[in-house]
Amino acid sequence: MKGAMLVFALVVLAAGVIADGFGVTSEYYSERPLEIRAGESIDTFFVIQDNGGSDLTIEAILLEGSEVASLSENIYEVSTSATGQVNVRVSVPQGTPVGTEYNVKVLFESVSEGEGGESVNFQTNIESSFPVIVVEGTSEQLGSGEGSNFWIWVLAAVIVLIIIIFAVLKARK
């Protein structure tokens, strides 16, 4: 009998204007993977933009890629119309084979209080991810400029040595 009746009251899942309007900027994404060499560390970032009418508290949760990526912080307070930068460090161990791929995925979740009563706002979350690809070379090879300096120093040392030998020979005579 009870089941045959109509529920007259309003069933509310979400109501009102979106209170937690925010977005996330990514430096890397599927079409622009982060390329890294074994043994190297690269810093990248996400940027949270608060486009709603109130200050936001956003929690950043690393869903995938924790073996190579770490977040500087997990909770970000972002003021209205302002931005908050989420720093991400990606580090790949020495000896990682070239071509190895990782996926770094971060969930940005609004943890701001919703409105009371039955007018409950839909919470809006954003997932952002980017591939990490291990490419040719080692972290030592990154300093190719330092390698060039090395040979310049070797050349300079040889010249100095020749001058010293010449000076010694001259002194003996």
Binding site: K2, A15, E109, F122, I126
Partner: protein
């Protein structure tokens, strides 16, 4: 002593050879092709084409990190600025200020023209140089990727100088707005396939990449005399499709997905495109697809997430 002389001789020869290779004019001294008589000289001053000697990094007003520009959220516009220094050996006055131009070209071919003017200062510039400051508005929906800067200027003789070496990254930005209300003003406890009164649930893409979404649902508890009564999340379905027979938004699992308590489920058929306002939207549809008769619910009360505090969530995935 002999060794010393040999050493210096070798060194001297090396220096001379190096100078010879480094300076094309060094051995010219020994050449006999030297004019010795009076020569009539006529000079005609011709217009020399201008050149662009420097183009700055592009700076946006949202952020500018590592030579990158971010779209502005909320469907806004990012103001970008770039400057370039042009040189004309006929004198800076020969540069045609009105012709100074700057264009961007995106990875997908989007072309964008900026406006340029003479900058108030030109630090360290020669008398033959001028600094031009340009700006261009970039919309939130422009494609992410490598954009090329095309700086150009003409002189007063219409000689053109163009530089396209400067590039910048327009970053990927994700944001979505949605209609807000999802409700069933009155539901039957026996019928199946009950559509939400909020259908279609409009999703608007305020970023520059196509979006899919997932929905995380929670059971709705009674807000009246029987708060323990609950409509489980699994009784709700969502889809990007609507209508037909059976109703697409209620057709689980063929065309719609059933929600799951606290677990995000990707909604089939929803892809919110990147694009101009009006072309950046998609609809989502909700349904209570099974009959609720077995739940023995109190029909005289409302049901809401407010009783448990668990908000439903829409997640861009």
């Amino acid at each position: 002593m002999v060794k010393a002389l040999v050493f210096f001789a070798v060194a001297l020869v090396s220096v001379v050879v190096l100078m010879g290779s480094a300076s094309a004019g060094f051995f010219d001294f020994f050449k006999k092709d030297v004019r010795q008589g009076p020569v009539d000289v006529g000079v005609t001053v011709e217009s020399v084409a201008p050149t662009i000697v420097f183009v700055s990094n592009v700076a946006g007003d949202v952020l500018n990190i590592h030579g990158t520009v971010s779209p502005r959220g909320g469907g806004g516009t990012t103001v970008t600025r770039v400057s370039f220094i042009a040189e004309d050996l006929n004198g800076a006055g020969d540069l045609n200020d009105a012709s100074a131009g700057m264009r961007y070209r995106g990875p997908g071919g989007t072309a964008l023209a900026g406006t340029c003017g003479v900058a108030p200062t030109c630090s360290g510039c020669a008398v033959t140089q001028k600094n031009y400051s340009c700006n261009a508005d970039m919309e939130y929906y422009y494609e992410p990727g490598t954009w090329t800067v095309n700086a150009s200027i003409k002189d007063n003789s219409a000689n053109l100088a163009v530089d396209t070496k400067r590039t910048f990254q327009y970053l990927l930005y994700r944001e979505i707005s949605h209609a807000g209300n999802v409700n069933w003003a009155g539901i039957s406890l026996v019928d199946s396939n009950q559509l939400s009164d909020s259908n279609p649930f409009l999703l608007t893409n305020l970023g520059n990449a196509a979006l899919s979404v997932s929905v995380t649902g929670y059971g709705l508890n009674g807000t009246g005399a029987n708060p323990e009564d609950q409509i489980p999340a699994s009784n709700f379905s969502a889809s990007g499709n609507t209508g037909g027979d059976p109703l697409a938004e209620c057709d689980v699992p063929a065309q719609a997905v059933a929600l799951s308590q606290g677990v995000p489920v990707t909604v089939p058929g929803v892809s919110v495109p990147r694009g101009l306002p009006g072309n950046n939207q998609d609809n989502m549809y909700f349904c209570i697809y099974p009959s609720l008769s077995s739940l023995n619910l109190n029909p005289g009360q409302g049901y809401s997430t407010s009783a448990t505090g668990n908000q439903w969530a829409i997640t861009i995935v």
